[in-house]
């Protein structure tokens, strides 16, 4: 058994992860067919590549089934309560930048800040008899942020995709989602609240605090960390 390194299994996030490691002398290749999620590592011995969906990597790190993993800050903070106790941030990797933001219809001239959103929610509840709905898949982060900001009279609606369309479809009045350029929000006639993102996220290399290590694995892990932390 070797040190297990979890990386995203497809798309741009996978390619950029491979590039990042290659610049640091660790070459990753997907083996056999493109369909099968298996891979190999060259340039360092004793590391097993585990290809996973980025959304599963936080859980695998916390469970100690992988020693290291690449995934976004947003996913670690959303999925792992007390994440600091379960994983350690090794290094932000400088790509996959995205902000978790609150967005409302652009014609809401009266809403610019979280305070405004709260007041609008109170008025909305009086008029419609329902709480103002916010569509998101980041329930924990959004709820924490809104609780902290003293927002009441809202309800979170689960949306696992195409969240920007929920307002037009009238299944939500506002959304909280990840955005990198804001273009999709704009195209859907939404604007971002001005008092800052809920969270700034980027692809990050994490180390599990719970994965068991043999002395050999510990040495391999240290060698790998030394290698990737060396200035490029």
């Amino acid at each position: 058994m070797g040190v297990k390194l979890g990386v995203p299994s497809k798309g741009r996030l996978m390619e950029k992860t491979f590039d990042w490691f290659e610049k640091r002398g660790i070459r990753m290749v997907r083996t056999e067919s493109e369909r099968e999620y298996a891979g190999a590592v060259e340039g360092i011995d004793g590391i097993d590549l585990v290809l996973l969906s980025a959304g599963e990597i936080p859980r695998e790190l916390a469970a100690g089934r992988i020693h290291m993993g690449v995934t976004g800050t947003d996913l670690v903070h959303e999925k792992l309560p007390l994440w600091e106790q379960q994983v350690e941030e090794v290094v932000p990797m400088g790509f996959g930048h995205a902000d978790l933001v609150l967005a409302v219809p652009r014609f809401w001239r009266d809403v610019d800040t979280v305070d405004d959103l709260d007041a609008a929610a109170a008025a909305f509840r009086r008029v419609h008899g329902e709480r103002l709905r916010i569509a998101t898949k980041y329930h924990r982060l959004v709820r924490e942020y809104l609780t902290d900001g003293g927002v009441a009279d809202y309800a979170l609606i689960d949306s696992q995709g195409a969240t920007e369309g929920t307002v037009k479809n009238e299944t939500a009045e506002a959304i909280a989602d990840i955005t990198s350029t804001g273009e999709t929000l704009k195209a859907n006639h939404l604007k971002i609240l001005s008092d800052g993102p809920i969270l700034k996220s980027q692809a990050t290399l994490w180390r599990s605090r719970t994965a068991p290590c043999t002395p050999t694995e510990r040495a391999t892990l240290q060698q790998c960390l030394d290698q990737v932390l060396e200035p490029v």
């Binding site: 309560p81 007390l82 219809p105 652009r106 014609f107 809401w108 001239r109 009266d110 610019d112 800040t113 305070d115 405004d116 709260d118 007041a119 609008a120 109170a122 008025a123 909305f124 008029v127 419609h128 709480r131 103002l132 924990r140 709820r143 809104l146 609780t147 900001g149 003293g150 009441a152 009279d153 809202y154 309800a155 979170l156 307002v167 037009k168 009238e170 939500a172 009045e173 006639h189 001005s194």
Partner: protein, 362 residues
């Protein structure tokens, strides 16, 4: 005896004590309709309750407490007056602190009585206090949300501002922020200033359920608010003084009577506090040693609107209250569909008592 058996044995003893005091035992279902609880408490409860669903009954919750089901049961046709007791598990999702229990036993006592609220407050406090009396080193804290509500209600300002303050009584930071804005101490945010100065309307399409009329109505509200005179410095410092009151009960009352010179609207609430102190004394509670904090209960107890209390293990700030309770007249109004009845209740956590007792004897 293991901890679970000890907890259940203690729960049974407490429930028997409440029955002996005249309470009727009730046993609400574990699964409660989620809609009602979410309607009452908002998203916060979703973070704290286990939500599940089935095809027939829709969204359901494992009961996060007994109070709401008991109030519902009572409002649907309970005797008047009535006293209830119950014992059983409640369920709280823990997303942050793994050391907190997700499932624990509560034993409670609830009084619905319109005759003498002060006596009912004292009755619940004294019984709960008696229930935890063999555990040494507990500190009791008391407060009264009704005093702060009366102060807000009596402010010389617009109904809109009062409503906003009332809505955020349970969010102290937000409450303070509003007070600062209403007294002209925090600057108007630039976007708000531009809007009020008549920034041009956006040509973006009106999507979603919130209509353009609602947007314009809120802008009107903001204009009216901008024209509302600020709260006076005197009022603001009186409110600050009120929130800072932290004394033993008789001294707290004396201090609050002084503050009432600047906030006369709190006087009826103080009369109720005075009557409660007398009723507690009549029940044999040593009120001269009992703490009263005007801010107590503002962060955790959203349905309480009068007397609030809790019993805490001294030197264990990591633990939740061993027992807590309060008055919730407004909840009976919301759930009563037109009917209402003054109500007060409290719960004990026998599991915490067993843990603390064991730690003490170890």
């Amino acid at each position: 005896m293991d901890a679970r058996a000890a907890t259940l044995a203690r729960a049974a003893r407490l429930k028997a004590m409440f029955e002996a005091a005249g309470a009727k035992p009730v046993d609400p279902a574990v699964l409660q309709p989620a809609h009602l609880l979410l309607e009452l408490y908002g998203e916060d409860i979703r973070a704290r309750a286990y939500v599940t669903s089935d095809a027939v009954r829709g969204e359901l919750m494992l009961r996060p407490d007994f109070t709401v089901p008991v109030v519902q049961m009572h409002m649907a046709g309970g005797a008047d007056p009535a006293r209830y007791t119950y014992a059983g598990e409640v369920f709280r999702r823990q997303e942050v602190d793994p050391s907190r229990a997700s499932e624990f036993v509560q034993v409670g006592y609830e009084v619905f009585d319109r005759e003498n609220p002060a006596a009912a407050d004292a009755e619940v406090f004294a019984l709960i206090s008696h229930g935890v009396s063999d555990l040494k080193g507990l500190r009791a804290a008391t407060g009264d949300i009704g005093i702060l509500m009366a102060a807000v209600d009596g402010l010389e300002t617009s109904p809109a501002r009062k409503a906003a303050l009332m809505r955020h009584i349970w969010r102290p930071r937000r409450f303070r922020g509003l007070l600062e804005r209403y007294s002209g101490r925090s600057p108007v945010p630039p976007a708000r200033a531009a809007l009020l100065a008549g920034a041009a309307a956006d040509d973006a399409p009106a999507i979603g359920l919130r209509s353009r009329e609602e947007v314009e109505a809120r802008i009107e509200t903001l204009r009216a608010d901008a024209a509302t005179p600020p709260l006076s410095g005197l009022t603001l410092s009186a409110l600050g003084a009120l929130l800072a009151v932290r004394e033993t009960m008789p001294f707290a009352l004396e201090r609050l009577r002084d503050i009432a010179i600047d906030l006369p609207a709190i006087t009826p609430a103080l009369d109720r506090l005075e009557a409660r102190i007398a009723a507690l004394r009549a029940r044999g509670v040593n009120v001269d040693k009992l703490d009263f904090e005007a801010s107590y209960g503002r962060t955790s107890m959203e349905y309480y609107d009068g007397f609030v209390f809790g019993f805490y293990a001294e030197g264990r700030p990591d633990l939740p209250a061993v027992a807590s309770g309060g008055r919730y007249d407004a909840l009976t109004r919301i759930l009563g569909q037109g009917a209402e009845i003054p109500a007060v209740g409290g719960i004990i956590r026998p599991g915490l008592m067993v843990d603390l007792g064991a730690a003490r004897w170890a």
